[in-house]
C-alpha cells in the first residue's frame, strides 16, 4: 500500500499552507474515505510518526472515516458501496482502490442497471480542516 506517499503529501501540503499564511498549525483533521480502502489506523500512526521533527509535531491530529456515499445519476438511488464492490474480483477491487471512479466500469446500479455513478462522499483521503494561529 502507498500510505507513506499519501501521508508525506498531507504533511507537506499543511506545511506549505502554514508557510504561506505565516501561521502555526494547532490542529488538523484528515478523513479517510471508505472507498479508498486505506487502513485508517495505519494512516493515523504514520501521521503521528512522520510529523515528529517538523513544525507540525505539536499539532493535535484527528483522523476519522468518511462513509462512502455513491449516487446513481440515472435513477437517483443512493447505493451501498460495500454491496457494489463485494462481487468484484481482487484485481477489480484493487483498481477501484487506486481509481475510485472506476466503480462505473465494474458495477451496475441494482435498481436501474445503469452504470453512471457519482461519488458524493468517502472517495479518498483528504485534509478536511486545518486550524492555525496567525
Amino acid at each position: 500500500m502507498h500510505e507513506m506517499m499519501l501521508v508525506e503529501g498531507i504533511i507537506s501540503t499543511i506545511l506549505e499552507l502554514s508557510h504561506e499564511k505565516k501561521g502555526r498549525v494547532s490542529y488538523f483533521k484528515v478523513s479517510v474515505g471508505e472507498i479508498s480502502q486505506f487502513n485508517v489506523e495505519l494512516i493515523r500512526y504514520l501521521l503521528i510518526e512522520m510529523v515528529k521533527g517538523t513544525e507540525l509535531e505539536d499539532a493535535h491530529i484527528e483522523v476519522d472515516v468518511e462513509k462512502a456515499v455513491v449516487k446513481c445519476l440515472s435513477c437517483g438511488s443512493k447505493l451501498n458501496f460495500q454491496e457494489l464492490v463485494d462481487p468484484l474480483s481482487i484485481n477489480e477491487r484493487e483498481a477501484v482502490h487506486f481509481l475510485p471512479e472506476l466503480i462505473s466500469s465494474f458495477c451496475r446500479c441494482p435498481s436501474c442497471r445503469m452504470n453512471d455513478f457519482e461519488i458524493e462522499q468517502g472517495r479518498s483521503v483528504r485534509i478536511v480542516e486545518v486550524r492555525m494561529d496567525i
Partner: protein, 258 residues
Amino acid sequence: MKSEWIFKDYWKMDHRDVITRRRLKEIDRIIVIVSGKGGVGKSMIATTMSFLMAKEGRSIGLFDVDLYSSSSSSILGANNLPREATHGLIPPTSNNVKVMSISLFIGGRPASIGGKAAREIIKEMLTITEWGKLDCLIVDTPAGIGDTMMMLAEIMRGKANFIVVTTPSKLSVSTTRRIVEFLLSAGMSVMGIIENMSTGKTNKDIELISRELGVELMGRIPLDIEAAEAIDRGDLSMLIQTNFATSLLNLLRESKLV
C-alpha cells in the same frame, strides 16, 4: 495579536497537488500530443514517438489520458497491472517505455466516466504513478478541448509543450486552428503542428495557421498503410521500417527531441 484561522475544505489543501508537483520535477520534458478531432493518428504518433525516442536511448514514459478510447498501451504491448510500491504505482515497461493508461486497470471494459470523474481519474493517475526520472513524458490525449485538456493545462502549465496533430482535411484543419488558439490563450507552450497522413502537397491552410498564430509547422508525415498494418498487428519491428516511422524520426531529430 494572534488569531485562530480555520481552513475547511480549502482548495489549497488537496495533498495530491504537492505529490504531483514532486513527480513532475523528476521529468525533464513533457510533450502533450493533441488534436482538434479524432482519427488524425494522434495515438499512433504519440506511441511511435515514445518508442523511437526510447530506442535512441532516452528514458521515456507514455501517459495515455484518453480515457474513452485508450489505445497506446495495447499498441506498445503493455498489459500488466502497475505494481504497487511504497511511493506509488510503478508503470509497466514495454519496449523500454514506461506506460500508464486506464486500460491497464479496466482491460477492454468500457470506461463509463463523466466529466468530473474524468478529472479525478487523471489527477489521481498523476498522483499515484511513480515515473521516476524521465528524459521525456509523452501524453496522449483524447481529441478536442474537453475536461482532459483543461485538467492538463491546469496541472502542467509551465512544464508541458503541446504538439498539435492534424491531417490535410478541411475539417481537421479548422479544428486545429481552434485548439491552437485555445492553447495559446491559456498560456500554454505550443511546440508546433504535425501534418499527418500528408499527400505531399503543400497545405496552404495549415501554413496559414502556422504563420498567423506564430506556431511552427514541424513537419509532414506521409500517409502510410503499412504503418497502420504494423500497428494493427502490434509489430513494432515492422513499424520502424515504414516511411511513417522514418519521417517521424527525422522530425524528432530536426526538433532536437533525439
